[in-house]
């Protein structure tokens, strides 16, 4: 194997420009794919965070009294999908509101009665799937004594629609860029193969097996894919560090944004996929040419 790797590295050195173009093309494709992955990973985390990890507030009708609580809890539990449930009496809700508003609470003293409703705070088992959460909220709303359910349906539905559209576009773009990278890799191998026609003919004449002839090309494809993947991730990391420090500096004081770079697992997968891409481009090219 050392012999094949040495040979592949020598071939890369002798065709520096062509190999550099291939590695850069792969890295740009990987950059686009990684960018989408970075967006999806962070958007998923933000949605979960903004949705408070599947939390919803059930606001109860004014006629509700605490004697009805055990029965209502049992009916909600009976619907399934509830992981945790906590009753918030309207008196505690008002205290919490006063605490949150700090010094601007003077007008509360003028109130004749507590306008806030009793509420139940629940955490649902379903967190990611908006359609399931909405369906479950609809079932709860239909229950007696329940006035409304708040789970961020207004902004979340709109955001999820945009997110889904972006996800589909992302898949299409990733597919397109990967195809371009595949095409370029296959083409590089084809050019390298043609430039070594004589060498390959001589190898065959002296009894080289197809494996002996093809392996350096495969090693070359794997190396191109591997280095392309690393380069793509490095470019993305540099861009991420520059942009994320800007975002944190400008928006950090107003909004809590937990933006992180790709996980080690995701980076490993990207490099693996990029290495496979290099190999697959080589495989397609050689299969066509050696037929």
């Amino acid at each position: 194997m050392t012999r094949y790797i040495t040979k592949a590295l020598a071939d890369i050195r002798s065709n520096r420009f062509l190999n550099l173009i291939t590695i850069v093309t792969i890295s740009l494709s990987i950059l686009v794919v990684s960018l989408f992955l970075l967006f999806f990973e962070n958007a998923n985390r933000l949605i979960e965070g903004w949705n408070q990890g599947g939390r919803a507030m059930i606001y109860l009708e004014p006629a509700f009294s605490q004697e009805m609580l055990p029965d209502l809890k049992a009916r909600i539990q009976g619907l399934g999908e509830v992981e945790e449930m906590r009753f918030i009496p309207k008196s505690r809700a008002l205290e919490k509101l006063k605490d949150e508003m700090g010094s601007h609470t003077g007008f509360f003293d003028t109130l004749q009665h507590n306008p806030l409703p009793h509420a139940l705070e629940i955490r649902m088992k379903t967190r990611g799937d908006y359609a399931q959460v909405a369906a479950f909220a609809k079932k709860i709303t239909a229950l007696e004594m329940v006035e409304s359910v708040e789970y961020g349906q207004g902004w979340l539905a709109k955001f999820l629609q945009i997110f889904t559209l972006f996800r589909i576009t992302g898949y299409a773009m990733c597919g397109l860029f990967l195809l371009i990278a595949l095409f370029i890799t296959a083409n590089t191998v084809r050019l390298a193969f043609y430039s070594r026609r004589l060498e390959i003919e001589i190898m065959r004449l002296v009894g080289a097996t197809e494996g002996f002839i093809k392996t350096p090309f495969y090693v070359e494809g794997l190396l191109q894919g591997f280095f392309g993947g690393i380069l793509g991730l490095l470019i993305l990391m540099a861009a991420f560090l520059t942009i994320s420090s800007g975002i944190s500096g400008n928006l950090g004081a107003y909004v809590y944004l937990d933006i992180r770079f790709l996980s080690i697992k995701a980076m490993g997968l990207i490099i693996l996929a990029s290495t496979f891409l290099g190999w697959f481009g080589c495989y397609l090219s050689l299969r066509q040419m050696l037929q």
Partner: protein, 239 residues
């Protein structure tokens, strides 16, 4: 020189033949490159394949190392039928041959050493053995001082000596040489033939296709197979 001519007749018993051709025909479209050629070649023989240009000399060599498939007939190498050789076994067959070509067929981007070493690399030999063996063969052919040179920087004679070194480095049973002296001056041609003769004395079977029979006759004892328009028209022994 005493030529003992026999027409369409084998001088040797076919029992221990290393190469046997049975009614071999090779067509390129309507053109017959080889027409019903039958030959038996014994181990250790020195065979000249002569004839005018286009007689089928190169084609005869090409069908032996399976660069071309025959249209009709059969070829046996050490009893192995070439028609039944699978693609995966073909490299093993070719490792039994050493080949020399008029245009040398050296890899221009690889050094003399690397060109010769390729034969042993494809056979999976260890690097230490390859180094030792290649340098020995290069010394024998007088090319050891140019081991690190690239072929395009060498003269035609030197390139052919490298090609001969590559042909013999794997200790093949059979050497096929297609016009090995065709593009060389007289002195270089004599030198190349000397190397082939020296290797022949070690027991190898050598087939040389050449239109320059006079040069060969002056140096080598062997059997001459004469082809004309793809047909074997006579065989003769050159003493």
């Amino acid at each position: 020189m005493n030529n003992d001519e026999t027409i369409h007749m084998n001088l040797y018993s076919s029992k221990n033949s290393i190469i046997r051709l049975f009614n071999v025909t090779k067509r390129y479209g309507a053109k017959l490159a080889l027409n019903n050629v039958s030959v038996d070649i014994q181990p250790g023989e020195f065979i000249f394949i002569s004839g005018p240009s286009g007689a089928g000399k190169s084609t005869l060599l090409r069908v032996l190392y399976l660069a071309e498939k025959v249209s009709e007939g059969q070829i046996l190498i050490n009893g192995m039928n070439l028609a039944r050789i699978s693609a995966s076994k073909l490299p093993l067959l070719r490792r039994r041959f050493g080949m020399v070509f008029q245009d040398f067929k050296l890899i221009p981007g690889r050094t003399v050493f690397e060109n010769v070493a390729l034969v042993l690399e494809v056979a999976g030999e260890k690097p230490s053995y390859i180094r030792k063996k290649v340098m020995h063969v290069l010394r024998t052919t007088g090319m050891d001082k140019k081991a690190n040179a690239l072929p395009p920087t060498l003269s035609g004679g030197e390139q052919q000596r490298v090609a001969v070194a590559r042909a013999v480095v794997g200790d093949p049973d059979i050497i096929l040489a297609d016009e090995p002296t065709g593009s060389l001056d007289h002195a270089s041609a004599m030198l190349v033939l000397d190397f082939l003769m020296a290797y022949h004395k070690k027991g190898a079977t050598i087939l040389v296709a050449s239109h320059n029979l006079h040069l060969l006759e002056s140096m080598v004892r062997g059997r001459n197979i004469v082809l004309e328009q793809g047909e074997l028209v006579k065989t003769s022994t050159m003493l």
